[in-house]
Protein backbone atom coordinates (compact mmCIF):
# COMPACT_ATOMS: atom_id res chain seq x y z
CA UNK A 1 0.00 0.00 0.00
CA UNK A 2 2.05 2.82 1.24
CA UNK A 3 3.72 3.22 -1.98
CA UNK A 4 3.66 1.27 -5.16
CA UNK A 5 6.25 0.47 -7.68
CA UNK A 6 5.26 0.68 -11.25
CA UNK A 7 5.74 -2.63 -12.88
CA UNK A 8 8.00 -1.25 -15.55
CA UNK A 9 10.34 -0.24 -12.84
CA UNK A 10 10.50 -3.62 -11.25
CA UNK A 11 10.31 -5.89 -14.24
CA UNK A 12 11.25 -5.70 -17.84
CA UNK A 13 8.58 -3.89 -19.87
CA UNK A 14 7.08 -7.08 -21.22
CA UNK A 15 6.94 -8.64 -17.81
CA UNK A 16 5.18 -5.54 -16.60
CA UNK A 17 2.61 -5.91 -19.30
CA UNK A 18 2.12 -9.56 -18.52
CA UNK A 19 1.86 -8.95 -14.84
CA UNK A 20 -0.91 -6.48 -15.42
CA UNK A 21 -2.98 -8.86 -17.50
CA UNK A 22 -2.22 -12.01 -15.59
CA UNK A 23 -5.44 -12.15 -13.63
CA UNK A 24 -7.40 -11.53 -16.82
CA UNK A 25 -5.70 -14.30 -18.78
CA UNK A 26 -5.97 -16.77 -15.94
CA UNK A 27 -9.35 -15.93 -14.45
CA UNK A 28 -11.42 -14.39 -17.19
CA UNK A 29 -12.04 -15.22 -20.78
CA UNK A 30 -14.25 -17.96 -22.05
CA UNK A 31 -14.35 -21.51 -20.82
CA UNK A 32 -16.42 -24.05 -22.64
CA UNK A 33 -18.08 -26.78 -20.66
CA UNK A 34 -17.17 -29.72 -22.78
CA UNK A 35 -13.62 -28.53 -22.90
CA UNK A 36 -11.10 -29.71 -20.49
CA UNK A 37 -9.36 -27.03 -18.64
CA UNK A 38 -6.20 -28.21 -17.09
CA UNK A 39 -5.69 -27.33 -13.54
CA UNK A 40 -2.68 -25.16 -13.34
CA UNK A 41 -0.73 -26.76 -10.63
CA UNK A 42 2.11 -24.76 -9.23
CA UNK A 43 1.79 -21.76 -11.41
CA UNK A 44 5.30 -20.85 -12.32
CA UNK A 45 4.73 -17.20 -12.56
CA UNK A 46 6.80 -14.20 -12.04
CA UNK A 47 4.08 -12.81 -9.92
CA UNK A 48 6.35 -10.15 -8.59
CA UNK A 49 4.20 -8.32 -6.18
CA UNK A 50 6.35 -5.35 -5.47
CA UNK A 51 3.73 -3.54 -3.53
CA UNK A 52 4.49 -3.01 0.07
CA UNK A 53 2.17 -4.91 2.33
CA UNK A 54 0.24 -2.23 4.07
CA UNK A 55 -0.83 -4.01 7.14
CA UNK A 56 2.62 -4.81 8.37
CA UNK A 57 4.48 -3.49 11.34
CA UNK A 58 7.44 -2.84 9.13
CA UNK A 59 5.37 -0.48 7.04
CA UNK A 60 3.92 1.19 10.09
CA UNK A 61 7.37 1.87 11.40
CA UNK A 62 8.51 3.31 8.13
CA UNK A 63 5.45 5.52 7.99
CA UNK A 64 6.05 6.66 11.50
CA UNK A 65 9.65 7.41 10.67
CA UNK A 66 8.60 9.45 7.67
CA UNK A 67 6.10 11.28 9.79
CA UNK A 68 8.61 11.93 12.52
CA UNK A 69 10.78 13.66 10.00
CA UNK A 70 8.02 16.05 9.08
CA UNK A 71 8.16 19.47 10.48
CA UNK A 72 4.75 19.69 12.01
CA UNK A 73 5.06 23.42 12.54
CA UNK A 74 5.72 24.21 8.98
CA UNK A 75 3.52 23.98 5.99
CA UNK A 76 5.82 21.60 4.23
CA UNK A 77 5.39 18.81 1.83
CA UNK A 78 7.17 15.70 2.88
CA UNK A 79 10.38 15.22 1.02
CA UNK A 80 11.38 12.45 3.32
CA UNK A 81 8.73 9.98 2.34
CA UNK A 82 10.01 9.53 -1.20
CA UNK A 83 13.53 9.11 0.03
CA UNK A 84 12.32 6.43 2.34
CA UNK A 85 10.26 4.46 -0.04
CA UNK A 86 11.72 5.10 -3.46
CA UNK A 87 9.66 3.98 -6.41
CA UNK A 88 7.23 6.22 -8.24
CA UNK A 89 7.13 8.53 -5.29
CA UNK A 90 10.75 9.33 -5.79
CA UNK A 91 10.14 9.48 -9.49
CA UNK A 92 7.30 11.91 -9.04
CA UNK A 93 9.46 14.14 -6.93
CA UNK A 94 12.22 13.82 -9.48
CA UNK A 95 9.80 14.92 -12.13
CA UNK A 96 8.69 17.83 -10.06
CA UNK A 97 12.30 18.78 -9.65
CA UNK A 98 12.87 18.53 -13.35
CA UNK A 99 9.84 20.65 -14.02
CA UNK A 100 11.06 23.23 -11.59
CA UNK A 101 14.39 23.35 -13.30
CA UNK A 102 12.69 23.64 -16.65
CA UNK A 103 10.62 26.47 -15.33
CA UNK A 104 13.69 28.26 -14.10
CA UNK A 105 15.24 27.76 -17.47
CA UNK A 106 12.20 29.29 -19.09
CA UNK A 107 12.55 32.21 -16.74
CA UNK A 108 16.09 32.64 -17.79
CA UNK A 109 15.28 32.49 -21.46
CA UNK A 110 12.66 35.13 -20.87
CA UNK A 111 15.14 37.19 -18.95
CA UNK A 112 17.41 37.11 -21.92
CA UNK A 113 14.81 37.56 -24.62
CA UNK A 114 12.37 39.94 -23.04
CA UNK A 115 13.02 43.65 -23.26
CA UNK A 116 14.14 44.76 -19.81
CA UNK A 117 11.20 47.07 -19.28
CA UNK A 118 8.69 44.32 -19.91
CA UNK A 119 7.32 42.76 -16.78
CA UNK A 120 7.78 39.08 -16.31
CA UNK A 121 4.58 37.12 -16.43
CA UNK A 122 3.66 36.01 -12.97
CA UNK A 123 2.39 32.59 -13.79
CA UNK A 124 5.40 30.81 -12.42
CA UNK A 125 5.99 31.69 -8.85
CA UNK A 126 4.48 34.08 -6.37
CA UNK A 127 6.21 37.45 -6.53
CA UNK A 128 7.60 37.02 -3.06
CA UNK A 129 9.67 34.13 -4.29
CA UNK A 130 11.34 36.26 -6.89
CA UNK A 131 13.49 38.88 -5.28
CA UNK A 132 13.97 41.85 -7.57
CA UNK A 133 17.66 41.33 -7.99
CA UNK A 134 17.03 37.77 -8.99
CA UNK A 135 14.82 38.91 -11.84
CA UNK A 136 17.38 41.32 -13.14
CA UNK A 137 20.19 38.90 -12.97
CA UNK A 138 20.45 36.95 -16.19
CA UNK A 139 23.78 35.34 -15.48
CA UNK A 140 23.01 32.71 -12.92
CA UNK A 141 22.38 29.17 -13.94
CA UNK A 142 18.83 27.92 -13.59
CA UNK A 143 19.92 25.39 -11.01
CA UNK A 144 21.72 28.06 -9.07
CA UNK A 145 18.67 30.23 -9.12
CA UNK A 146 16.53 27.42 -7.92
CA UNK A 147 18.91 26.79 -5.08
CA UNK A 148 18.73 30.42 -4.14
CA UNK A 149 14.99 30.42 -4.26
CA UNK A 150 14.88 27.51 -1.95
CA UNK A 151 17.35 29.16 0.34
CA UNK A 152 15.30 32.33 0.34
CA UNK A 153 12.18 30.41 1.18
CA UNK A 154 14.00 28.57 3.87
CA UNK A 155 15.30 31.80 5.39
CA UNK A 156 11.90 33.31 5.40
CA UNK A 157 10.54 30.37 7.29
CA UNK A 158 13.54 29.51 9.33
CA UNK A 159 12.27 30.96 12.60
CA UNK A 160 9.73 28.17 12.75
CA UNK A 161 12.01 25.61 11.25
CA UNK A 162 14.20 24.86 14.19
CA UNK A 163 14.52 21.30 15.26
CA UNK A 164 12.34 20.45 18.15
CA UNK A 165 9.22 21.01 16.15
CA UNK A 166 6.06 21.54 18.04
CA UNK A 167 7.10 21.86 21.62
CA UNK A 168 9.68 24.58 21.33
CA UNK A 169 7.80 27.34 19.53
CA UNK A 170 4.87 26.81 21.79
CA UNK A 171 7.13 27.22 24.77
CA UNK A 172 8.38 30.44 23.29
CA UNK A 173 4.95 31.69 22.55
CA UNK A 174 3.62 31.12 25.97
CA UNK A 175 6.03 33.41 27.79
CA UNK A 176 5.31 36.03 25.16
CA UNK A 177 1.64 35.83 25.96
CA UNK A 178 2.32 36.12 29.65
CA UNK A 179 4.39 39.24 29.27
Amino acid sequence: MITTYEDEVVCAPRAGTLYDVLELILDRGMVIDVFVRVSLVGIEILKVDARIVVASVDTYLRFAEACNRLDLERDVRSKTVPELFGGPVAKAVGRTGARRTARSLTDKVRDVLAPPEQDLPEEDLPAEDLPAEDVRDGVRTPAGRERERRAARHQRRSPAARPGGEARPRARRRPAAEE
Partner: protein, 254 residues
Protein backbone atom coordinates in the same frame (compact mmCIF):
# COMPACT_ATOMS: atom_id res chain seq x y z
CA UNK B 1 -10.73 -17.73 -47.64
CA UNK B 2 -7.95 -19.15 -45.54
CA UNK B 3 -8.99 -22.66 -44.81
CA UNK B 4 -5.70 -23.30 -43.17
CA UNK B 5 -5.40 -26.70 -41.73
CA UNK B 6 -1.97 -27.14 -40.24
CA UNK B 7 -1.06 -30.58 -38.95
CA UNK B 8 -2.30 -29.54 -35.55
CA UNK B 9 -5.88 -29.27 -36.65
CA UNK B 10 -6.13 -32.30 -38.83
CA UNK B 11 -4.17 -34.53 -36.59
CA UNK B 12 -5.83 -36.30 -33.77
CA UNK B 13 -5.11 -35.21 -30.30
CA UNK B 14 -5.81 -32.54 -27.84
CA UNK B 15 -5.94 -28.95 -28.98
CA UNK B 16 -5.19 -25.82 -27.12
CA UNK B 17 -7.86 -23.20 -27.92
CA UNK B 18 -6.95 -19.50 -27.95
CA UNK B 19 -10.12 -17.85 -29.04
CA UNK B 20 -13.07 -17.76 -31.41
CA UNK B 21 -13.58 -15.28 -34.22
CA UNK B 22 -15.77 -14.95 -37.28
CA UNK B 23 -14.72 -17.20 -40.14
CA UNK B 24 -12.43 -15.53 -42.64
CA UNK B 25 -9.66 -14.24 -40.43
CA UNK B 26 -6.05 -15.01 -41.25
CA UNK B 27 -4.29 -17.58 -39.14
CA UNK B 28 -2.06 -15.89 -36.57
CA UNK B 29 1.60 -16.02 -37.42
CA UNK B 30 2.64 -15.78 -33.80
CA UNK B 31 3.98 -18.93 -32.24
CA UNK B 32 1.53 -20.56 -29.89
CA UNK B 33 1.81 -22.13 -26.49
CA UNK B 34 4.77 -24.48 -26.13
CA UNK B 35 6.17 -23.20 -29.40
CA UNK B 36 3.47 -24.81 -31.55
CA UNK B 37 2.20 -23.31 -34.79
CA UNK B 38 -1.31 -21.90 -34.59
CA UNK B 39 -4.00 -22.89 -37.04
CA UNK B 40 -7.66 -22.20 -37.58
CA UNK B 41 -10.51 -24.60 -37.34
CA UNK B 42 -13.56 -23.32 -39.21
CA UNK B 43 -17.14 -24.34 -38.56
CA UNK B 44 -20.56 -22.73 -39.00
CA UNK B 45 -19.21 -19.31 -39.90
CA UNK B 46 -16.89 -19.25 -36.92
CA UNK B 47 -13.31 -20.19 -36.51
CA UNK B 48 -11.24 -21.15 -33.53
CA UNK B 49 -7.53 -20.52 -33.25
CA UNK B 50 -5.91 -23.70 -32.02
CA UNK B 51 -2.59 -25.45 -31.70
CA UNK B 52 -1.50 -28.88 -30.53
CA UNK B 53 -1.79 -28.89 -26.78
CA UNK B 54 1.35 -29.31 -24.77
CA UNK B 55 1.46 -32.50 -22.79
CA UNK B 56 1.33 -30.70 -19.48
CA UNK B 57 0.24 -27.13 -19.87
CA UNK B 58 1.73 -24.84 -17.32
CA UNK B 59 1.38 -21.16 -16.83
CA UNK B 60 4.87 -20.39 -17.90
CA UNK B 61 5.68 -16.86 -18.71
CA UNK B 62 6.37 -17.50 -22.37
CA UNK B 63 3.19 -19.52 -22.72
CA UNK B 64 1.09 -16.79 -21.19
CA UNK B 65 2.71 -14.31 -23.53
CA UNK B 66 2.11 -16.64 -26.48
CA UNK B 67 -1.57 -16.94 -25.58
CA UNK B 68 -1.80 -13.19 -25.44
CA UNK B 69 0.15 -12.66 -28.68
CA UNK B 70 -2.04 -15.03 -30.68
CA UNK B 71 -5.15 -13.27 -29.46
CA UNK B 72 -3.75 -9.85 -30.20
CA UNK B 73 -3.09 -10.85 -33.76
CA UNK B 74 -6.67 -11.99 -34.12
CA UNK B 75 -8.06 -8.92 -32.41
CA UNK B 76 -6.29 -6.77 -34.97
CA UNK B 77 -8.55 -8.35 -37.58
CA UNK B 78 -11.88 -8.09 -35.81
CA UNK B 79 -13.83 -9.15 -32.74
CA UNK B 80 -12.58 -12.19 -30.88
CA UNK B 81 -13.92 -14.19 -27.98
CA UNK B 82 -10.78 -14.90 -25.98
CA UNK B 83 -10.47 -18.17 -24.13
CA UNK B 84 -9.10 -18.31 -20.66
CA UNK B 85 -5.56 -19.58 -20.50
CA UNK B 86 -5.24 -23.36 -20.89
CA UNK B 87 -8.60 -24.29 -22.32
CA UNK B 88 -8.20 -27.57 -24.16
CA UNK B 89 -10.48 -29.63 -26.33
CA UNK B 90 -9.95 -33.38 -26.50
CA UNK B 91 -10.52 -33.68 -30.25
CA UNK B 92 -11.06 -31.36 -33.19
CA UNK B 93 -14.54 -32.75 -33.79
CA UNK B 94 -15.56 -31.97 -30.22
CA UNK B 95 -14.63 -28.37 -30.89
CA UNK B 96 -16.48 -28.37 -34.21
CA UNK B 97 -19.57 -29.77 -32.56
CA UNK B 98 -19.35 -27.09 -29.94
CA UNK B 99 -19.04 -24.31 -32.48
CA UNK B 100 -21.94 -25.71 -34.46
CA UNK B 101 -24.34 -26.09 -31.56
CA UNK B 102 -23.43 -22.80 -30.03
CA UNK B 103 -22.96 -20.73 -33.17
CA UNK B 104 -25.82 -18.29 -32.63
CA UNK B 105 -24.80 -17.56 -29.09
CA UNK B 106 -21.16 -17.09 -30.00
CA UNK B 107 -21.97 -14.82 -32.92
CA UNK B 108 -24.15 -12.68 -30.74
CA UNK B 109 -21.27 -12.26 -28.34
CA UNK B 110 -18.94 -11.36 -31.16
CA UNK B 111 -21.41 -8.68 -32.23
CA UNK B 112 -21.58 -7.38 -28.67
CA UNK B 113 -17.89 -6.65 -28.48
CA UNK B 114 -17.39 -5.63 -32.11
CA UNK B 115 -15.48 -2.37 -32.38
CA UNK B 116 -14.63 -2.43 -28.69
CA UNK B 117 -11.50 -3.02 -26.69
CA UNK B 118 -10.90 -3.86 -23.08
CA UNK B 119 -8.94 -1.36 -21.06
CA UNK B 120 -7.91 -2.40 -17.59
CA UNK B 121 -7.32 0.32 -15.04
CA UNK B 122 -5.54 -0.35 -11.82
CA UNK B 123 -4.96 2.02 -8.97
CA UNK B 124 -2.59 1.54 -6.08
CA UNK B 125 -2.03 3.50 -2.94
CA UNK B 126 0.55 6.27 -2.92
CA UNK B 127 1.63 7.87 0.32
CA UNK B 128 2.80 11.24 -0.91
CA UNK B 129 -0.13 12.94 0.79
CA UNK B 130 1.11 11.84 4.17
CA UNK B 131 2.28 15.26 5.26
CA UNK B 132 -0.97 16.83 4.17
CA UNK B 133 -2.99 14.27 6.10
CA UNK B 134 -1.02 14.85 9.26
CA UNK B 135 -1.53 18.55 8.90
CA UNK B 136 -5.22 18.20 8.28
CA UNK B 137 -6.19 15.46 10.67
CA UNK B 138 -6.19 16.40 14.32
CA UNK B 139 -6.03 12.82 15.46
CA UNK B 140 -3.01 11.99 13.34
CA UNK B 141 -1.34 15.12 14.53
CA UNK B 142 -1.91 14.20 18.13
CA UNK B 143 -0.46 10.76 17.56
CA UNK B 144 2.52 12.26 15.76
CA UNK B 145 3.22 14.67 18.55
CA UNK B 146 2.82 11.99 21.15
CA UNK B 147 5.30 9.80 19.27
CA UNK B 148 7.76 12.65 19.40
CA UNK B 149 7.35 13.49 23.02
CA UNK B 150 7.59 9.89 24.08
CA UNK B 151 9.42 8.13 21.31
CA UNK B 152 9.21 4.41 21.30
CA UNK B 153 8.23 1.34 19.41
CA UNK B 154 4.61 1.27 20.52
CA UNK B 155 4.02 4.91 19.77
CA UNK B 156 5.55 4.49 16.35
CA UNK B 157 3.47 1.45 15.55
CA UNK B 158 0.31 3.21 16.62
CA UNK B 159 1.19 6.26 14.60
CA UNK B 160 2.23 4.22 11.57
CA UNK B 161 -0.93 2.19 11.61
CA UNK B 162 -3.09 5.28 11.79
CA UNK B 163 -1.13 6.79 8.93
CA UNK B 164 -1.49 3.67 6.84
CA UNK B 165 -5.23 3.70 7.36
CA UNK B 166 -5.52 7.36 6.51
CA UNK B 167 -3.45 7.03 3.37
CA UNK B 168 -5.48 4.07 2.21
CA UNK B 169 -8.72 5.86 2.90
CA UNK B 170 -7.55 8.76 0.74
CA UNK B 171 -6.60 6.40 -2.05
CA UNK B 172 -9.97 4.65 -1.88
CA UNK B 173 -11.78 7.92 -2.06
CA UNK B 174 -9.76 8.93 -5.09
CA UNK B 175 -10.43 5.55 -6.68
CA UNK B 176 -14.17 6.00 -6.29
CA UNK B 177 -13.93 9.35 -7.98
CA UNK B 178 -11.90 7.90 -10.84
CA UNK B 179 -14.41 5.11 -11.32
CA UNK B 180 -17.29 7.57 -11.40
CA UNK B 181 -15.52 9.60 -14.08
CA UNK B 182 -14.53 6.68 -16.28
CA UNK B 183 -17.68 4.59 -16.14
CA UNK B 184 -19.72 6.91 -18.40
CA UNK B 185 -17.00 6.60 -21.04
CA UNK B 186 -17.37 2.84 -21.24
CA UNK B 187 -19.97 0.48 -22.66
CA UNK B 188 -19.61 -1.91 -19.75
CA UNK B 189 -17.36 -2.42 -16.76
CA UNK B 190 -16.11 -5.45 -14.86
CA UNK B 191 -14.54 -5.19 -11.44
CA UNK B 192 -11.52 -7.18 -10.42
CA UNK B 193 -10.15 -8.15 -7.04
CA UNK B 194 -8.95 -5.47 -4.64
CA UNK B 195 -6.67 -5.69 -1.68
CA UNK B 196 -4.84 -3.52 0.79
CA UNK B 197 -2.67 -1.78 -1.73
CA UNK B 198 -4.82 -2.12 -4.81
CA UNK B 199 -7.81 0.11 -4.46
CA UNK B 200 -8.94 0.11 -8.06
CA UNK B 201 -9.01 -2.76 -10.53
CA UNK B 202 -11.66 -2.44 -13.18
CA UNK B 203 -11.88 -3.43 -16.79
CA UNK B 204 -13.73 -1.13 -19.15
CA UNK B 205 -15.25 -2.15 -22.44
CA UNK B 206 -14.56 0.90 -24.54
CA UNK B 207 -15.43 1.65 -28.15
CA UNK B 208 -12.17 1.78 -30.04
CA UNK B 209 -12.97 5.33 -31.14
CA UNK B 210 -13.35 6.40 -27.54
CA UNK B 211 -10.03 4.99 -26.41
CA UNK B 212 -8.02 8.20 -26.80
CA UNK B 213 -10.56 10.17 -24.81
CA UNK B 214 -10.65 7.49 -22.17
CA UNK B 215 -6.89 7.58 -21.85
CA UNK B 216 -6.89 11.33 -21.61
CA UNK B 217 -9.36 11.15 -18.76
CA UNK B 218 -7.23 8.55 -16.97
CA UNK B 219 -4.19 10.77 -17.40
CA UNK B 220 -6.06 13.76 -16.05
CA UNK B 221 -7.29 11.78 -13.04
CA UNK B 222 -3.79 10.41 -12.48
CA UNK B 223 -2.45 13.95 -12.33
CA UNK B 224 -5.19 15.11 -10.03
CA UNK B 225 -4.63 12.28 -7.55
CA UNK B 226 -0.98 11.58 -8.01
CA UNK B 227 -0.07 12.11 -4.38
CA UNK B 228 -2.50 9.44 -3.25
CA UNK B 229 -3.26 7.10 -6.10
CA UNK B 230 -1.09 5.64 -8.85
CA UNK B 231 -3.16 4.84 -11.92
CA UNK B 232 -2.17 2.55 -14.74
CA UNK B 233 -4.01 1.53 -17.89
CA UNK B 234 -3.33 -1.75 -19.65
CA UNK B 235 -4.69 -2.31 -23.10
CA UNK B 236 -6.16 -2.42 -25.57
CA UNK B 237 -6.70 -6.03 -24.62
CA UNK B 238 -8.79 -8.85 -26.02
CA UNK B 239 -12.12 -8.60 -24.24
CA UNK B 240 -11.37 -11.20 -21.58
CA UNK B 241 -13.73 -9.63 -19.09
CA UNK B 242 -16.64 -9.12 -21.44
CA UNK B 243 -17.35 -12.55 -22.78
CA UNK B 244 -19.64 -14.89 -20.96
CA UNK B 245 -17.47 -17.40 -19.26
CA UNK B 246 -19.70 -20.27 -20.30
CA UNK B 247 -21.38 -19.77 -23.61
CA UNK B 248 -22.26 -23.42 -23.96
CA UNK B 249 -25.58 -23.39 -22.26
CA UNK B 250 -27.20 -26.79 -22.58
CA UNK B 251 -28.37 -27.26 -26.15
CA UNK B 252 -31.91 -27.95 -24.96
CA UNK B 253 -31.90 -24.75 -22.94
CA UNK B 254 -32.09 -22.57 -26.01
Amino acid sequence: MPTLAPPAVTGLGTLYVYGIAAAGVRAPRATGVAGSPVGLLTESGLCAAVSPAPERPRARRRDLLAHQAVLEELVAQGPVLPMRFAVLTPRPDALRAQLRSDAAHLKRQLDDIAGCVELNVKGTVVADCLAELVRRDEQLRTLALRARRRPGYDADVRLGEALAKAVRREARRAAREVLARLTPLAVRTADGPLDDGRVLSTSFLVRADDEPGFRREVAARARAHRDRLALGVTGPLPCYSFVEARPASRPAGR
